[in-house]
């Protein structure tokens, strides 16, 4: 099975978390070092949560769930996430 979605589908769920447009952010994979825009990630889900994987090595880069009163975000698979700064 190929990925259910690409990273563009993270825009909605992550709009409650990030103040900037996250799909153009650059994620550096902690496993293989590849830089990908969030839009390029391979996203599986949507339930029980969304899992975004590196298009290079399939490692998990991001997970997000929404429970009754919380949004849970895991970015532990990334070496970094570079976000566009306002006016930058």
């Amino acid at each position: 099975m190929t990925a259910t979605y690409d990273g563009n589908m993270l825009a909605g769920p992550l709009s409650d978390v990030f103040a900037v447009e996250v799909t153009t952010a650059t994620a550096c994979c902690g496993g293989c070092g590849r830089n990908s825009t969030v839009a390029e990630l391979a996203v599986y889900g949507p339930g029980p949560g969304l899992v975004a994987r590196c298009p290079g090595c399939d490692d998990v880069l991001l997970r997000v769930t929404r429970t009754a009163d919380s949004i849970w975000l895991d970015l532990a698979g990334m070496a970094s996430l570079r976000l566009p700064a306002a006016g930058g």
């Binding site: 099975m1 190929t2 990925a3 259910t4 391979a42 599986y44 889900g45 339930g47 029980p48 949560g49 899992v51 994987r53 399939d58 998990v60 997970r63 997000v64 769930t65 429970t67 009754a68 919380s70 849970w72 895991d74």
Partner: protein, 199 residues
């Protein structure tokens, strides 16, 4: 007149009583996935139980096929709110697999090919409550549903029934799995609607 009273409860088929709170009935078998579907030839599949002292018990596919298998018909309840009734499986009970495993562990952490994990109390794997299942509805279990073999623990939400199961660590302390780390309930009883931490 208890028999007559029961007849006036208004359930056409009795299905409603078999649906835990917040669930709806489906006749499909939705596929939920956290990553690419692993394609594991049975001859490369194995199942390993590792105790809290590090003792390993391993079964190959051939070993699994020589063990006594059971046919079970169970209801499935997914935390994404669908339930599917009367699903037919064939598999080896964890009672058989754990029979000769010496342990004082209270917890189990289940591992799958592809990196998925899920945790549950060891006692929920015993006493006819859990199987390593390799047939669904009379056919070999397809890879999209977890074949060649998956865990089947139908009394808990389906995320505990790890697809592509490859082993179980027996632990003295609970260790949260893939979804349990991210807000999902450590136990996940559908009848108590234990979806999220704190439910």
């Amino acid at each position: 007149m208890p028999i007559i009273t029961r007849g006036f409860r208004g359930h056409r088929s009795g299905d409603d009583e078999r649906l835990p709170p917040g669930q709806y009935l489906t006749h499909d078998f939705p596929v939920l996935s956290t990553g690419p579907t692993p394609l594991i030839p049975p001859e490369e599949w194995s199942f390993t139980v590792t105790t809290e002292t590090g003792v390993r018990h391993e079964w190959s596919w051939t070993d699994l096929m020589t063990l006594p298998a059971e046919e079970v018909t169970v209801d499935l309840h997914c935390v994404t709110r669908w339930s599917k009734l009367d699903t037919a499986w064939r598999g080896v009970s964890l009672d058989v697999l754990l029979e000769d495993v010496e342990t004082v562990a209270d917890y189990a952490l289940v591992h799958s090919h592809g990196g998925y994990t899920t945790n549950l109390p060891l006692e929920d794997l015993l006493d006819g409550q859990a199987w390593v299942a390799f047939e669904y509805d009379g056919d070999a279990l397809t890879s999209e549903h977890g074949g060649p073999a998956r865990l089947l623990v139908p009394h808990l939400y389906l995320w505990k029934s790890a697809k592509w199961v490859r082993g179980i660590d027996l632990l003295l302390e609970d260790d949260p799995g893939f979804w349990e780390q991210l807000g999902y309930h450590e136990y996940g009883d559908p009848w108590r609607e234990q979806r999220y931490q704190g439910d």
